[in-house]
Every structure is written in C-alpha cells, then in structure tokens.
Symmetry: none
Subunit: 175 residues, 2 copies
C-alpha cells in the first residue's frame, strides 16, 4: 500500500508557451491525495507554483456526465468549455440537459495557503468520494475519482480492451 500511495506524481506539470501570445497548461500523471473530514484535498505541491502562475490558483470543478468522477479545470480552460457549452442551441433538450448538469453544478475553487481546495458536498456525493482519491492530469483538466471507484473502472477497462480497436475513430490513429 505504501508503494501505491504517496508521491506517484511522476509528471511535473508543464506550462507550454504556444507562441508568443498564448499560454496553455498540459496536465498529466496521477496522484493519490486524501480527502480530509472537511472535504478538502491537497493538490500536488509541484503543481502549485505553476497553477498560481497560470490561473492565479483558481480552478473550476464540475461533474462528469457519464462517470462518477469530477472534472477540475484551471479557470482559463473552463472559460473555453463554458463558452462552447453556451453556444449550443439551447432549445435542444439534450443540450439543455448537458448545460444544466455541467454549468449548474460548476463551482469555483481556490487553493488555500496550504495548497488545498474545498469540494462542495454535492459534488463529493456525485463522485462518491470517500477518503482515498485519485487525481489524474488529462491535458487541460484533472479528473478526480474515488480511489476504489477508479480501480474498479480501470479493471473494467482492461477487460473491454479487446473491443477497443473496433471503433472507427481510432482506426487512423497511430501512437
């Protein structure tokens, strides 16, 4: 258990200067923090300076629509997502549902002096977070899972792996 907890965050964050105008953040790697009894958890300390720099330590958390996990965006990246969401035709029921879920549940987070953020209880419930968490960097966002849930999901993925390459989207992908 020791090997699994602690500092598995093998990937330092990376702020990439795209061109002389744009900055963008590229998150990756995994980290396993714990949720304290007030619903807070600490972000990896190596990320903190970068986040302070990139988004003034301001994040936005919302639910994921089809998995019991939370999505955590640096604020600038969230703004982009939100703009996309709001530009969709709002008379479409599916669109409205998506907007309700994502925007309605969105919450601002600010790192405190100890590098922690406080998760609203409704979001903790959605992701069924208990004590051990799994935080994954996925490009412009984090995904936050309950550790046990993520473990199960990961196992399930492995079982389905054989059928994965049947999807057409992946046919042309070369890694």
């Amino acid at each position: 258990m020791v090997g699994e907890s602690g500092e598995l965050w093998t990937q330092p964050q990376k702020i990439v200067k795209m061109d002389n105008q744009t900055q963008s953040i590229m998150l990756r790697g995994i980290h396993t923090p714990t949720l304290d009894n007030k619903g807070r958890f600490a972000l990896p300390s190596r990320l903190r300076p970068e986040l302070a720099d990139y988004c003034d330590s301001e994040l936005v958390v919302t639910v994921d629509v089809d998995e019991p996990c939370l999505l955590i965006y640096p604020k600038p990246d969230w703004e982009i997502v939100q703009a996309k969401l709001m530009s969709l035709p709002s008379l479409n029921p599916q669109v409205r549902r998506l907007q309700r879920l994502l925007m309605g549940q969105a919450a601002d987070l600010k790192l405190d002096s100890a590098g922690r953020v406080l998760l609203p209880s409704a979001l903790r419930d959605h992701a069924r977070l208990s004590h051990q968490l799994t935080l994954m960097g996925l490009g412009n966002k984090f995904e936050l899972w309950d550790a046990a849930t993520w473990q199960q999901t990961q196992d399930a993925y492995r079982d389905e792996m054989g059928q994965l390459d049947s999807s057409e989207v992946l046919q042309d992908l070369s890694l």
Copy 2:
C-alpha cells in the same frame, strides 16, 4: 438535510468584460434557497452586488416551455431573448405559441432591500414550487426548480445518460 441545505452556492457570479464595449454576466453554480410564506426567496448574497451593478437588480421571470421550472433573466439578457422571440415569423403557430407562453407569463422582478424577489403565484404554480427550491446559474439566466422536482429530474438524467452521446449536436463537443 444539513449537508444539503445551507451554502452550496460556491460560485461567485462573474461579470465578464467581453470586449471594450459589451458586458455580459455569466451565471453558474447551484443554490438552494427557501420560499417564504409570502412567495419570496432570497438570491445568493454574493450575486447581489453584481446584479445591482449589471442590471440595477432588475430581473425578468417567465416559464420554461418544456420543464416545470422558471427562467429568470437579468433584464438586459431578457431584452435580447425577447427581441429574438419577436423577430420570429409570427404566422407560424408554433412560434405564436412560444411567444404567448414566454412573453405572456413574463413578469418583472426587483430585488427588495433584503435581496429577495416575489414570485407571482401563477408562476409558482407552474413550477410547482413548495418550500425548498433549487436555483441554478446557466450562463445568461437562472433556472428555478422545486428542489424535489429537480432531484427527480436529475436522477432521471443520470439513468438516461447512456443515450446522451447519440445526439449529433454533441458529437463534436470536446470537453
């Protein structure tokens, strides 16, 4: 009940300066006020300064056409919606029906000194509001639900989630 009530409003409002001309408000997050026995409820206190600034605390409420909930717009945003509505071809029966519903039921709201608004009883009936409410920020408007109704609706959403990606509008959406 304790964990669900109280200050779930984690989102401060946001007035975004679009360019040097336009201002726009971007509402998000969830809040759970109560309806008092006079049919009033309080808006989240963090929003009040911004609303005072943005629309002189003037809102417009109307019904939603396909859900038992109410739509609450800051006045400037309502003006836009109204203009769009009136520019539609009014010979079309569907258009006329939409105009009747939305414009006919619209009512002006003004925050009182305690940051509350009084809902017309006809609108309270439409949304079947009892005591516990759910107020969601959705970009340029709020949606106001009876808390129990919203809970049911949300649960239903979660069950239907598997069909979500079948919609073409959402195919190209990358979050």
